[in-house]
Every structure is written in C-alpha cells, then in structure tokens.
Symmetry: C2
Subunit: 333 residues, 2 copies
C-alpha cells in the first residue's frame, strides 16, 4: 500500500504538502494540488488511519458491548447506534459479552488496547460487573438501559416502570383480575425492572400479583413457550399474561394456540420490546415499545459530546416507553 512519502516523491513535493492537500489544512497552489491529487489517484493512495490515530490520539472508533447481538432487540438497537455513529464519523466495534465473564473481560481489555474513543455499554447480566469495568475507567462511556452501580458514566434508561405500568393499567381497565407474569431470569436487570414496574403498578392499583402467578424462564421464545404452557395448563389459568419480552410472548402465543386457548378471546397477552416483526404474530402482539431509536441516538449524541470533552457532569435520563395496542388484548370472558 502506497505511503504518503511515496506520493510526495512521485509528485516532486514534500511530504507535508501532501498532508496538507489531503486535509485541506493550509493553502496550496492550485497546480501543486492538482499534481498531488493526480498522483494520489494514480497510486491508489489511501491515508492510514492507524498512523493518523497514533498521531492524533483518537481512533474514531467506538466499542459497542451487548449481551447478544443476534437477539432482535439488541440487533435493532445496534442498527440505530450504527446509524448515528456513522453520521458522527465513528465506526463500531461489535462485541458480544455472552460467552462468559472471561470473554467480556477480554473484550474490554482489547477495546482499551485499540484505544476506542468511547464505549457503549448495554449490560444485562449483573455478574461481576463492577470488577470488569474498572478496566474501562479511562474511556467515555454511555450506558444504555441499565446504569451499573458505582460506575460514573452517563446512562440512558428505558424509562421503566412507566411502560410496564401502562401494560398493567390496560389489562386492569379491560377488566382482567387474574393476571400472570412471564419473565426472564430474575438475575437479569432488564427482567427485574420490567417485572418490578408491572408488579408495582398492580399493587398500587390494589391488585397485587401473587407469587405463584410469576413464572421465570429463559429470555427466549422457547422460554416463553414453556412458561405459558405451565400457566395455561394449570387448573386455574390466568385471563391475561404480561411477558417481559416479545420473544417470550411470541413463544407463548404458540403455546396458547397449541393448547387451544384462543387469543385474545380467552387470553390477553402483552409483550415488551416491540420487535420489528411483532406486528405480524398471530394475532399481532400488543406490546410495550421502548424508544429504541431515540435511545440509540441520544446515547451516541451524549457519548460524542463526552468524547469531545464538552461535558463534565454525569447525566442520566429515562426515555418513556409506550404501549402499542394491537390485537392480543380483550376483556375477559
């Protein structure tokens, strides 16, 4: 790969002149500029961002660490993040934490070595989080969805329990009294917040959800299938189920259909995430929609501000989720 020096020689100018025509950083006579540009094209010269980074002490790369990028929820979030990052002139290094604490630690280390300019953190597991993050102390960090205790970094929360509360109220207003919850593993903060928000709203409405109406399973379609199955085949099935993720609701919908429980006539279902395809489940899923796009955009905006050094105080905000009414809810029979 051609280097700036070679370009300079071939063009019969100094290396610094080449640099300046590339970066438009000082006046260059027109004929020299044309000549240099010509040589650049001819030699297919492409400036080295790594040399540039070494010099400037910035890489224009940001790390994005998520639990599992193939989970549609994160995939959508990442997509928006990528959009905003590209807009702002940054590239994204994609890291999946799933695969053990060791992998997560290794990634954090690698990202620091790579001298990323900033880090987007979407943490789910609460395991050993603090310890792992001490490594990251020196980069600007933006946390999405969950603020790690003790980590001084901006955070954008999903605005729970607002969304979950809306779900509760909707079900209550429809007249449901026996409402169950299908949730992911209790160890996941995301589950806890969504479930917690729902339970609290129910309690405040004077309809606390009894313990046995809460089922924890894996955060997947399979988990939802299992959970709904258990609930619906008991002697006293609930008339409505709130699931803490669309994936679970999705699996649950199939469980219901398989068992012969009609949705929404015999069972109302509310999910959480508003995944892309979820308008086409059978029936289309009523769900709580976190403002994924806004979260991503704001996250990147804040991160960039911090990278540019324009922000001192720590910032937190919670963006409101909203209930998207589709076709899985109806009054109980």
């Amino acid at each position: 790969m051609a280097t700036m020096k070679q370009v300079a020689e071939r063009a019969g100018v100094s290396i610094s002149t080449v640099s300046h025509v590339i970066n438009n950083t000082r006046v260059v006579s027109d004929d020299v500029r044309q000549r240099v540009l010509g040589v650049i094209a001819e030699m297919r010269y492409i400036p080295s961002a790594v040399a540039r980074s070494l010099k400037n002490d910035k890489t224009n790369m940001i790390g994005v660490l998520v639990p599992d990028s193939s989970n549609p929820y994160f995939a959508e979030l990442i997509r928006w993040l990528e959009d905003a990052a590209f807009e702002a002139g940054y590239n994204i290094i994609l890291c999946n934490a799933q695969g053990g604490a060791a992998k997560q630690a290794a990634y954090l280390r690698l990202l620091m070595e790579k001298r990323i300019d900033g880090l987007v953190l979407v943490v789910s597991s609460a395991d050993r989080e603090r310890e792992l993050l001490t490594r990251a102390e020196t980069v600007p960090i933006i946390q999405i969805e969950r603020a790690l205790p003790g980590l001084e970094a901006d955070a954008i929360l999903a605005g729970e329990p607002g969304g979950a509360a809306q779900a509760a109220h909707h079900l209550l207003e429809l007249g449901h009294r026996d409402i169950a919850c299908v949730a992911g593993p209790a160890s996941l903060p995301r589950t806890r917040e969504r479930l917690g928000g729902f339970l609290r709203a129910m309690e405040e409405a004077g309809r606390p959800v009894p313990r046995e109406r809460i089922v924890h399973e894996a955060f997947t379609s399979a988990g939802g299938y299992a959970a709904f199955n258990r609930l619906l085949t008991s002697d006293r099935p609930p008339s409505a189920i709130f699931a803490t993720s669309d994936l679970m609701a999705f699996g649950g919908l199939w469980a219901a259909r398989e068992i012969g429980v009609r949705v929404p006539e015999q069972l109302s279902v509310i999910g959480f995430d508003d995944l892309d395809g979820v308008g086409y489940t059978s029936p289309p899923l009523t769900t709580v929609a976190p403002p994924k796009r806004d979260m991503a955009r704001l996250a990147l905006a804040w991160l960039v501000e911090r990278i540019r050094g324009g922000q001192a105080a720590q910032r937190r905000t919670a963006l409101e989720s909203r209930l998207v009414l589709r076709a899985t809810c109806a009054p109980p029979r």
Copy 2:
C-alpha cells in the same frame, strides 16, 4: 494513558525490556520481569494496539459489511462471525450498507483507511457493486452468500438451489399441484437464487410454476403479509406457498389466519432462513435452513488463512441447506 516509556523509566529498565516482558519475546530475568509487571499494574498501563498496528502492519480487525444488521438473518450470521473472529483474535467492525450506495462506498473507504486485515462481504443489492469494490482490491475478502461477478475473492455460497429444491419436492410429494411463490424484490440476488432454485426444481418435476403464481414484495413481514393476502384473496388461491424468506412467511402466516385460511389444513407454507424464533410461529414454520453457523465459521477460517498468506488459489464452495420439517405443511384437501 501511561506509555511504555514511562513504565520503563519508572521500573528503571529500558523500553525494549518492557516490550519483551509484555510480549514474552525474549528471556528476562525473573526479578526484572516482576518489577516491570509491578509497575505496569501500578500505572494501569495498557499497550497501544494503534502503535503496534503501525509497526506490525496489521490491525487484527476485520470489516463486516452487510445490507442490514438488524435483519434477523444477518444478525444471526454476524453473531456467528463475531464468535469465530473473537476465537481467532480479531475484532469486528460492523458496517451496514443499507442507506445508499454512498454510504457503502464511504464505509469501504473508511475500512481501507483503518487498514482492516480482512473483509467479510455479504452483499445483497446488485447495484453498482463492481464499481464500489474496486476500492477494496487490496484486502483479503471473503464473500458470503453471493459471489460478485468479476471480484476475485473466496466465496461461500448458501448452496442454492439445493434447499429450495427440497422445498419443492416436499410440497410435490405431499400432493400439491397449485403452488405459489412469494419472493423478495427480483433485484436481490438472494431472492433470485432461492426463487430460481425452486422454480427449476418444479420445472424438472414437470410442474412449472406459472408466472402469475409468483409474487414479489418487500423482503419483510409486511411484504409477506401483502403478498399472501393478494394470493389468498384471489378467486383461485393456491394450496401451498413457498416464501423466499422466513420474515415473509411470517407475515404471510398472519395474513392467512386473518383471512381464515387454516395452516396447514388449507394452506401449506414453507419459509427460508430458519430464523431463531421460527419454531414458535403459529404453527411452527417448516423452512429451508441455510447452515448459517457453518457458513460463518468457514468464512472466517478462509479469511484468516488468506490474511496469513497461506492461500493462493481462489476458493468457492456451496454449503447445503436442509429442509426443516415443522408444522406448516400437509397434503392438500
């Protein structure tokens, strides 16, 4: 951020000694090593991959360019790629081509500037592809799913038309005679190959699919919904539909249910992709499963080989897809 030089000074050794204890690249007396290690820990020194890259002329980063990383199919592929990349010591720079030819070109340029060691290309649109790729000529490239004409690079194809043919045979064996196809935009190579494979198999079986039984729509749930709707509300609805993507089949399933067409009793449906959640559609979707994981692993293995310079000749292979039987197919009434 601490530098190697500072570590050396503080430890009272030369800079090269520090380098060597870090990289285990030559013998260092135990006490010196301990001292250096101590200082490194104390100063929280982290070596700079940027400087290292400049010196070694390799970045351990590979670019992954896909049409849209939030599409579950690509999301899953990316997840496997990331896995394999991490294993091999590479980081992934995620790039979405969707957003216009300009964005794609910009990304390619950026990746070259960043001096990625290799590039994984998952191209869908055929637009101006060649032109854009001339930029990338100098990096090792592995193409997945589609080999761009004129691009000298290894390629791993999805093994069409094998999978689509299996779908055709399955439907035929069940006794279906009036089979329709729901496909993405004809401009997408992926669509063309899958659809083409299916049509050819039907033809070879002596049951060519008439033109009017082929419906093109967007490569999404919404597109599938629209396409199925059109087909099923015509005066002579088909008894089976082959969709070139699960997303489309997914939307189609809902369309069928909404119209009151029962699957699989009145309509058989086969999708394509075997997306993660698709075992939980209503009913669980029979689909053609491309070996996403194997494709990703092989892609990365080949790419790494090429990066290491161990491979000269251009390689191509097609991994076979297989039909996954679930619950959306039955004999026609």
